[in-house]
């Protein structure tokens, strides 16, 4: 079931623009240059409909059990070095390694010369929802919705359907990290 089916679309709707629905942030106030473009990253963005590991993935990017605890990934914290950003757009899930170098963003957002969610969608692209995913050596895939652009304001219904869709793509052992709050 590679691309979104009607049941997924119903559960995931509506498609939103970055920061849409966010009470404090808008594209105008919080989207900086270097965060608006996706053209140069298109070849690195993986279409997860084939349920394989993303592009750029290699054995060294498996999260170890020790890292899982050290960085509190299973609780929802970030471990940028092994983090993959994802969004579900109008077609399927798109994934990119967060540490993908983004020179332009580094110039505008000093200290962050790597990609963000809007480098997948582009400034005017829409997505249903987004977050992070970590492939762990224990076989689990830890998924969260920690994206101020596409995740923070997402409803529980959206999150449930997002997990369902990722599983329907064939990814196994999906663990939500926000179940013990």
């Amino acid at each position: 079931m590679p691309i979104l089916q009607q049941k997924h679309i119903i559960g995931l709707s509506p498609l939103i623009y970055a920061f849409e629905g966010h009470p404090k942030k808008t594209k105008e106030t919080h989207l900086f240059d270097g965060e608006k473009n996706n053209e140069e990253f298109l070849t690195l963005i993986y279409d997860g409909k084939d349920n394989n590991f993303p592009k750029q993935f290699h054995q060294g990017l498996f999260v170890t059990e020790a890292e899982l605890n050290q960085y509190k990934i299973d609780k929802g914290n970030s471990f940028r070095l092994k983090c993959f950003l994802w969004v579900i757009d109008n077609n399927s899930i798109k994934i990119i390694w967060e540490m993908t170098s983004n020179v332009k963003r580094g110039e505008y957002v000093f200290g962050k010369p790597f990609v963000c969610h809007t480098n997948i969608t582009g400034e005017n692209g829409q997505a249903y929802i987004g977050g992070e995913m970590y492939f762990c050596e224990n076989g689990n895939i830890y998924v969260n919705f920690t994206s101020d652009r596409f995740g923070v304001v997402a409803t529980e219904e959206k999150k449930l359907m997002a997990k369902q869709y990722i599983e329907d793509c064939g990814y196994k052992n999906i663990i939500r990290t926000d179940n013990n709050l």
Partner: protein, 293 residues
């Protein structure tokens, strides 16, 4: 105050006869000799670098002994000095050396510098836009928070040129004072309880939003110090929540609060988050929605 060591690596320093004969280029080039070259020679397309050297050497921070500046026309010479115990705080690293096409050595040297020092490295190049292809590797990614790519002579988006930004970064690192420019507005900076470097002002921009920060600047006399950071955060009336029992901070707009019916959340103002933790912590919570401490 500890002196900041600045290494400037570039193989295109002007080569003059007297320096060649004195083998000046075969070791660290002193600040005096760099200044001599900057004042007297034609740097052609490197005129921005020439001006950077002039600015550093004529700065109060340099005159006050707070900055050491050394030039290297070959990264191997810099690495030899590093092996011998020299510890640069900031490295300005030219990416291209000679006629090398595949940049193999540029990558190797950069990795060695990052691995053997704790310096912040400005990677400085005429081919900035093609660099990500070389740098999208795990070997570089673990250092991504310690280097910054700049285009030689490029226009830095915050209205400084790349070289002006590097200059201000160096000056504020050394003297704890500096300037930064946001949308053309110059902001005076003093190292304070919350921000150690002028470029940290950009955290405020990401927290408060660009327009809000610009609107507030006249209320703080275009100057960033401890008091003005507190005023900016306080006036924003921003707050997040703290779950003391579970040990996490969560942004007030995070839908999880409603959907999971989370109880026992304590309101904590932006200012208190910054006082108790850091500006970076606040920015992370607002960006990711939640952070376990």
């Amino acid at each position: 105050m500890q002196t900041k060591n600045i290494f400037l690596l570039d193989d295109e320093f002007p080569k003059i006869k007297e320096f060649i004969e004195a083998e000046i280029y075969h070791k660290a080039i002193s600040a005096d000799n760099l200044y001599h070259l900057a004042l007297n020679e034609n740097w052609k397309s490197l005129n921005h670098l020439q001006q950077l050297i002039k600015d550093i050497i004529t700065s109060e921070a340099f005159k006050g002994g707070m900055i050491n500046l050394s030039g290297y026309s070959d990264p191997e010479l810099a690495l030899q000095d590093i092996e011998s115990g020299s510890k640069p705080d900031v490295v300005i690293y030219d990416w291209q050396y000679g006629a090398e096409i595949n940049n193999t050595n540029s990558q190797k040297w950069l990795l060695e510098i990052l691995g053997k020092t704790s310096a912040f490295v400005f990677v400085y190049s005429l081919i900035e836009q093609t660099l990500p292809a070389f740098l999208n590797k795990e070997s570089f990614s673990k250092y991504l928070d310690r280097f910054q790519l700049f285009s030689k002579g490029g226009k830095f988006p915050l209205s400084f040129s790349a070289e002006e930004f590097i200059f201000q970064y160096i000056i504020s690192s050394a003297s704890k004072k500096g300037k930064i420019q946001i949308d053309g507005i110059k902001i005076e900076f003093s190292s304070n309880d919350y921000l150690s470097n002028a470029s940290d002002i950009l955290y405020l921009q990401r927290i408060l939003g660009n327009q809000y920060l610009l609107d507030q600047l006249n209320k703080i006399d275009f100057s960033i110090d401890t008091a003005s950071v507190e005023k900016l955060l306080n006036d924003s009336n921003g707050f997040i929540f703290f779950n003391k029992e579970k040990g996490y901070l969560i942004s007030s707009e995070n839908r999880l609060i409603e959907d999971k019916k989370i109880q026992n959340l304590e309101e904590i103002s932006y200012l208190n988050v910054v006082k108790q933790y850091s500006l970076e912590t606040l920015e992370t919570v607002l960006e990711r929605g939640i952070l376990y401490l």
